[in-house]
Amino acid sequence: MRFWVLLLTLVFTTSVHAIGVDGDVLEEPKLEAKAQEIMGGIRCLVCQNQSIVDSNAGLAEDLRHIVRERVALGENEAEVQAYLVARYGDWVLLRPPFSAKTWLLWGTPILILGVAGTVILVSRRQRQTMEALSDADTAEADRLIEEYGA
């Protein structure tokens, strides 16, 4: 019995997420929801592959505070992001914006699609020309089949 209780406890504790808990949550639920949405796209710089919503790091907490502060001032997502990008660069955004440095990153799928599409088109056209034999060739083929058997 004790074993099963322990096992169940272990299984279910894994579903507890580490989410930063703040004391400065905005009172207006609409604004808090907006702040949360913005935070979801801001990188926790010291943990690098988490958003600041998911991190308990001190810097993430400070950045959450700043996001809430600016949302309370009435700023929109782009304005809050611009504030953070001016200090930490594009790196602070989890979705890198399209720029001279990232065009290859965003363009690669389109590039691959284009190249693959061209290859498929070319090879398909070639197959079609193979299928369409001229009348003389068809006659010749028929003759050969007749002569040597199918």
Binding site: L45, V46, G58, L59, D62, L63, I66, V85, A86, R87, Y88, G89, W91, K101, L104, T108, L111, I112, V115, V119, V122, S123, Q126
Partner: protein, 179 residues
């Protein structure tokens, strides 16, 4: 289609892959621990912090006084800061003006840290909320900035300074931005 062209096509995916590898490698800086800073070559952000006594302040005007200075972000709770403290002291002894930014540290703890290791700083700004550090795009302590005589940020070093880095990078850069 000729046979040769067909063979060429077979190698197209490989060529594309190699091309991408080269393109992406070229975009990666040689040292991944170098964090990008957008503040390089930009003016020092406006900061105005009380010092440890609360008597004076570390302000923006300290950073455009005609000669280059170092700004060292440190904290008593930060282990690498203990390790680099000797290097900071040597730089100060060599005549470099070093300002300190006590990052998210209680003034009493900062004072204890300095009593124990000595105080090489010309002035220390107390940034208990970490707000001034965010203005500088700081990730954590320690970080060291070179700010030239016009108040422009010229270099950022993330992590502890070592004697080698001080001799081979910081001092030459200070000299270079002086002229």
């Amino acid at each position: 289609m000729t046979g040769r062209l067909k063979w060429g096509l077979a190698f197209l995916p490989l060529a594309a892959f190699v091309g991408l590898v080269v393109a992406f490698l070229a975009q990666i800086d040689e040292d991944p621990s170098i964090l990008p800073s957008v503040l390089l070559e930009k003016p020092m952000p406006a900061i105005d912090l009380p010092n440890l006594n609360g008597a004076q302040r570390l302000a923006l005007s300290d950073f455009a006084a005609g000669s280059p200075v170092l700004l060292n972000v440190f904290a008593s709770w930060c282990q690498p800061c203990w390790a680099e403290h000797d290097v900071i002291t040597q730089l100060a002894d060599a005549g470099v003006t070093v300002y300190g930014l006590a990052y998210k540290d209680a003034p009493a703890d900062t004072r204890r840290f300095l009593r124990r290791l000595g105080n090489p700083y010309a002035e220390i700004g107390v940034d208990q909320s970490g707000r001034a550090a965010i203005e500088l795009g700081v990730y954590g302590a320690p970080e060291t900035f070179i700010i030239d005589g016009q108040g422009i940020i010229r270099h950022r070093h993330v992590g502890a300074l070592t004697p080698d880095i001080a001799q081979q990078k910081i001092l030459p850069l200070l000299k270079a931005v002086e002229s």
